[in-house]
Assembly symmetry: C2
Homo-oligomer: 255 residues x 2
DNA sequence: TCCTTATTTTTTGTCGTCAATTAATGACTT
DNA sequence: AAGTCATTAATTGACGACAAAAAATAAGGA
């Protein structure tokens, strides 16, 4: 018999109360809506920062204690996360961090190519000189930042250009769809991204703006499409090169 | 003093317990998930059938009694309806049936044109002979049904063609976005549709399929775009011709 | 030794209850 | 008489509680 276990009959599921997830103080008191957003942001940030790996379970009670809120708020957040494909929600089995299959990744990038191409004509139709100037300014900032920051924080900056294009389309609906897709792509990139490699997308971005400003929409679409295909290929390479981590992932999922 | 009101001091908000909404028996016992879907479908059907007019309030308690479920289920349904833009959810003020502004309608149709155009190349790339045959069969059915049924039930059939195209694209993500947009468009059509007018879209649909099967994607896109612009114009005309109903709508919203 | 089974804990799904905000009227004031 | 204020109902927001399903292990059998 072990020394510490006092007569534990040992039948049934073992109690795992230690709650390995670090205990975070409930921070400053905030309104419920803000708390909800905080929880959402915290989970998204953890997934993006690879501290929550795909397949990890997210029990409601743990999140409740961790953030000091009731289950209704946690459920609402999980619902939203599921809608944004950050987590997967299985009936009666709870939420786990999403792990998109290679097939889904393909569909994701295909949809992204289609959407971004559809957005460009609207941009060309509506953007003014000042908008192009602001785009180019943003591209310069992005280029400078790329060398300065770690790519973890830089991940968001890379998408900013694409998001800005969606914004310039002047159509909020297409913009929201594009935001959703870009977020999911960023998540995929984050999942397969070994630290310290990031493609420089600067030149391709500049070319897209050039074509747009010249009024050559067709060329801009071609350039954008090629750029996105490049990005996908890059992900695929990384994905293949790290298939031993796939075992890790499965191991962790089984945990 | 009135005869029935026994000493009602009459101060404060009057009690309006009669619950004017007809009481529906809780029907057959179903699993919770099915009940949720039932509630969702019932509300969508009521909105589509113009029995729930824009601006109508949807109190949670009323829905609870009406369907015999707790508030959590109703809240989940309202959340979903809000996400699908069937209802509008205002903080602390409950849900009302959505009433899209003319501007939103414009953005909606613009987004739809963009999406449907993006889908066509994928369809042309992937559809096989059998798919085109099935499309044409569906078009014939649609044409026959158009003369037989009332347009209320026919509203769903009209969208079926477009949905099928989205399905044939082979991309579930684009298909879901297209479904969302088409649903919202159908809702707009339902809102502004006086009984007994429906455009015959048959010929235009056939032309799109013709072009697609010939491999002339560009022409198919042009045809589709024109078809959708026609549809939007038709809505606009109806909308203008019924602006006295706008007063009705506002009156009802103030109720 | 491996597979099946029984039991216990965990975890989710749903409901009812309480506090807080909003809406709607009558009463009061100018 | 019209506008403002106070009082009351209605309604949402959030929490905790109970029941049901799933998960995880030890015990028992082939």
């Amino acid at each position: 018999m072990s020394s510490t276990a006092t007569k534990s009959n040992g039948r049934g599921r073992p109690k795992v109360r230690p709650s390995v997830l670090g205990n975070r103080k409930p921070s400053a008191r905030a309104s419920a809506a803000e708390k909800e957003q905080d929880i959402y942001d915290a989970i998204v940030a953890s997934v993006m920062g690879q501290r929550l790996k795909p397949g990890t379970k997210l029990p409601e009670l743990a999140l409740c204690e961790l953030f000091g809120v009731g289950r209704s708020l946690v459920q609402k957040v999980l619902q939203r996360l599921a809608h944004d494909h950050v987590v997967q929600l299985r009936p009666n089995r709870g939420a786990i961090v999403a792990m998109p299959s290679p097939e889904e990744v393909g569909q994701l990038f295909e949809a992204r190519r289609a959407l971004e191409a559809s957005v460009l004509p609207l941009v060309a139709e509506r953007a003014a000189r000042a908008d192009y100037a602001s785009l180019r300014r943003q591209l310069r900032e992005e280029h400078k930042a790329m060398h300065r920051y770690a790519q973890t924080q830089w991940a968001g900056l890379a998408s900013a250009f694409h998001l800005r294009l969606g914004e310039l389309s002047g159509n909020p609906i297409l913009y929201r769809y594009l935001s959703e897709i870009i977020s999911r792509c960023s998540l995929v990139v984050a999942l397969f991204q070994p630290p310290g490699n990031a493609t420089c997308e600067h030149e391709e971005h500049v070319r897209v703006v050039d074509y747009l400003e010249q009024g050559n929409v067709r060329a801009a679409q071609r350039e954008m499409k090629r750029h996105l295909i490049d990005l996908e290929h890059h992900i695929r390479l990384v994905e293949e090169s790290t298939d031993q981590s796939l075992a890790d992932i499965l191991g962790l999922a089984a945990e």
